[in-house]
Symmetry: C2
Subunit: 450 residues, 2 copies
């Protein structure tokens, strides 16, 4: 492909999401009730989710229709462009071809609206008036705030405190779309108050913020909960990324040898890779790599076992690679990657060797991000910089080996609302927090044995 | 048009810029030397501009070729999408059709790279090592920083102090692309020191920052100067916006009745409207409206006469609508509109009744911006919000009159690097500074009579 990018017309926005549960060799083990430790049924979830999303959560149907109204809103930014990184390739002097899909074209600046829009849509249809949620760096919170404004639903966001302080622009964006934002842990919920009693200076974590949002939803009749990653239906919605990319690669006359996505909860990685993994399951040669931070090395250092999705233990237990639900990751700038576990779908596929994982320090990621910005132009989100690091490393390896290789990564979002991260990097203030193995062992030792 | 947007393929990026000087009924009067007050020649400019840009500045050739390398870099974000604002129309319940072209897709988040890229290209070809420039809100500075990083040219930016303080994210973005940024007035130049002596708390202005950048370029052999608006060649480069839009309207089977652009120095307005004005000059019915702030009402309250482009009087005198070159506009958030005059091309066309003008307070503009964000999704740059205000007002007028009308505005940039402006608005802290008529008279009384 000699062009810089391939853009599909509006009519090529997918009409159906791809459900990998129809094709994966082993389905994830069922989620368990946090009290009884028995597999949960739809009734256990309906206090906080609309039934249509619960159905998607458990469906094994391969293709699931995208509602017309969702499709229409998708067209505000989709199809997103597929770029060939000619200028980065030249700077690296690599024989590898590097492609990236750019999800920062969405109004919230990341891939997150791919799922916030359908989630708001199904909640609206179910008559829900308000949605409570958590957010790390603020990408998911912004996406749900945007979706709330488009569907006329109130949105309350519990934002991890370290990000709330590091990323004021994200908070203001959520408020511009009309959402209410609280720093988490907050004094509004029991979960938040309990954490603050034990540690008044708690920087917060995604696990804590989830506890707060779930509690908020469970204790208010008109309020549902929404999650920006981890759950099956979230990853399902994100497959529009990979589906479009497959069509774009077809037009480019190419196919990836390796696909790289940053991985926090797994929705970005799942979204870009699952439609390609269908081919791999059917025999195609292909590597899929999850890029995670060394400060929160879920796949590379975690254990595959049942754990809660949140810190307070309010959510069902899910079968995941986990660092322990009260694991407190350091306050790195890629707040969206600070989650103690990963989506059960991603974890099962990792277990079954369909996905690989690699962990990077944040300094190396920002170095890659700046090399990207200076060649390709766009300033990436700190989360996405992990995928760029992975792609550059693969390209440099291809150069060493003198091999042609087609590398594809998802640029999940832009960094224009996260510029303080770059300021810290440029000022030499960033630290690489590798999380100590013994601390991981300690956290895991506390988990319920199931 | 039922679709949400029309996106052209890479091959439809224009191959030539459109030069309105070939068609306008009256050419602008020539610029005069600041010392001799005689018309300047190419030699007077070559200390700070490469000859190829000087040639474009004076050319009356209708079509000017876009160099291949510039065309290639344009393809990193161009062609930009043309949207039909279905959701905003519905919210306004207007019979009018509203279209907008979105220039925020560029890596710098605005239309400015349309000219920073060719300017850096021609300077690079001329062997220039460093470019000095000014910036208001930071959109032009970011665009030149980006261009510098793509062509390997050092960039020094004098950023108006009030914006430097209000918009740290813009500064960090420039630094991420490798530029050096100084708050202006600075202690680095004679012009800056002189201003600071008279007023140590000066918030700065575009006029002052231009003086500093011109002085920097004029006093360093390896350094040229670049301007982000006002000059003929800058407006020429921006015509890619209008040229693409004409093709997109053709595909939509529509044509605008009214085109609205925010107007600070005039490059955005010129870029979007000149290719359509060619039709108007040839007899087509069409209104073109410049939307400016009441705090810096150049066209609506200024006088048409010779004035300097900068505060210190270092630049040639140009025939412009001006508020006087030492006019100090209040520190509104739309920093890119805080310029004491307008492009000579825009001014001449305004004089000749081919362009109209309207002025808005910033509160009304942010109100429009938020209505836009809540319906169309994107959060606009404060500058662009002036065009949105204008478009919404036109749409509401169409509703009152019960008339169908096709309204087209340029969404010149996004606001993700300017979120403090929204924070101030949401906190009720914004003030509408209407600039007093007597102060304008005072500033104009000081101008040289030519």
């Amino acid at each position: 492909m000699n062009e810089t990018k391939i853009i599909l017309p509006d009519r090529d926005i997918p009409r159906q999401w791809y459900n990998i549960m129809a094709d994966m060799p082993n389905l994830p083990k069922p989620p368990l009730h946090p009290g009884t430790k028995q597999p949960i049924g739809p009734d256990d979830l309906k206090a906080i989710f609309p039934m249509s999303l619960i159905e998607q959560e458990v469906s094994t149907q391969r293709w699931i229709d995208i509602p017309e109204e969702v499709h229409k809103i998708y067209s505000l930014w989709r199809p997103s462009p597929l770029y060939r990184a000619h200028r980065l390739e030249a700077a690296l002097n690599t024989p590898a071809k590097i492609y990236y899909k750019y999800e920062g074209v969405s109004p919230a600046g990341s891939h997150k609206p791919n799922t916030s829009i359908p989630q708001a849509y199904y909640n609206k249809k179910a008559g829900v008036k308000r949605i409570a949620t958590e957010t790390g760096a603020g990408q998911w919170g912004s996406a749900l705030a945007l979706a709330g404004s488009l569907f006329g639903i109130d949105v309350t966001v519990y934002m991890v405190k370290v990000s709330f302080n590091q990323k004021p622009y994200r908070r203001i964006a959520m408020e511009t779309w009309g959402a209410t934002v609280h720093a988490s842990p907050s004094t509004i919920t029991n979960s938040g108050r309990k954490i603050l009693e034990a540690d008044p200076d708690s920087p917060g974590s995604l696990g804590i913020a989830i506890s707060e949002a779930v509690e908020d939803a469970a204790t208010h009749d008109d309020t549902n909960y929404a999650l920006g990653s981890v759950l099956n239906h979230v990853l399902l919605h994100q497959t529009v990324i990979g589906l479009e990319a497959k069509k774009q690669f077809e037009l480019a006359g190419d196919y990836p040898d390796v696909i790289i996505g940053c991985c926090g909860g797994g929705s970005n990685l799942g979204g870009v890779s699952f439609p390609f993994l269908q081919d791999k399951i059917n025999g195609k040669q292909l590597r899929v790599i999850a890029a995670e931070p060394i400060s929160c090395p879920t796949l590379t250092k975690g254990e595959f076992r049942y754990d809660f999705g949140d810190t307070a233990g309010l959510t069902p237990l899910m079968m995941m690679y986990t660092l322990g639900h009260d694991f407190m990751p350091p306050g790195i700038h890629a707040g969206g990657l600070r989650y103690h576990a990963d989506a059960p779908l991603v974890c099962q596929l990792y277990k079954d060797n369909l996905i690989e994982a690699v962990a990077f320090g944040q300094t190396a990621c920002f170095e890659a991000a700046i090399q990207f910005a200076k060649t390709e132009g766009l300033i990436p989100a700190p989360e996405s910089s992990h995928a760029i690091r992975g792609a550059i490393d693969e390209a440099l390896r291809a150069k060493e080996e003198g091999k042609e290789k087609t590398i594809f990564f998802n640029l999940s979002g832009h960094g224009y609302l996260d510029m303080t991260a770059y300021e810290d990097y440029l000022a030499g203030k960033l630290v690489d927090y590798a999380y100590p193995d013994e601390k991981i062992k300690e956290a895991l030792a506390k988990l319920p044995v199931i």
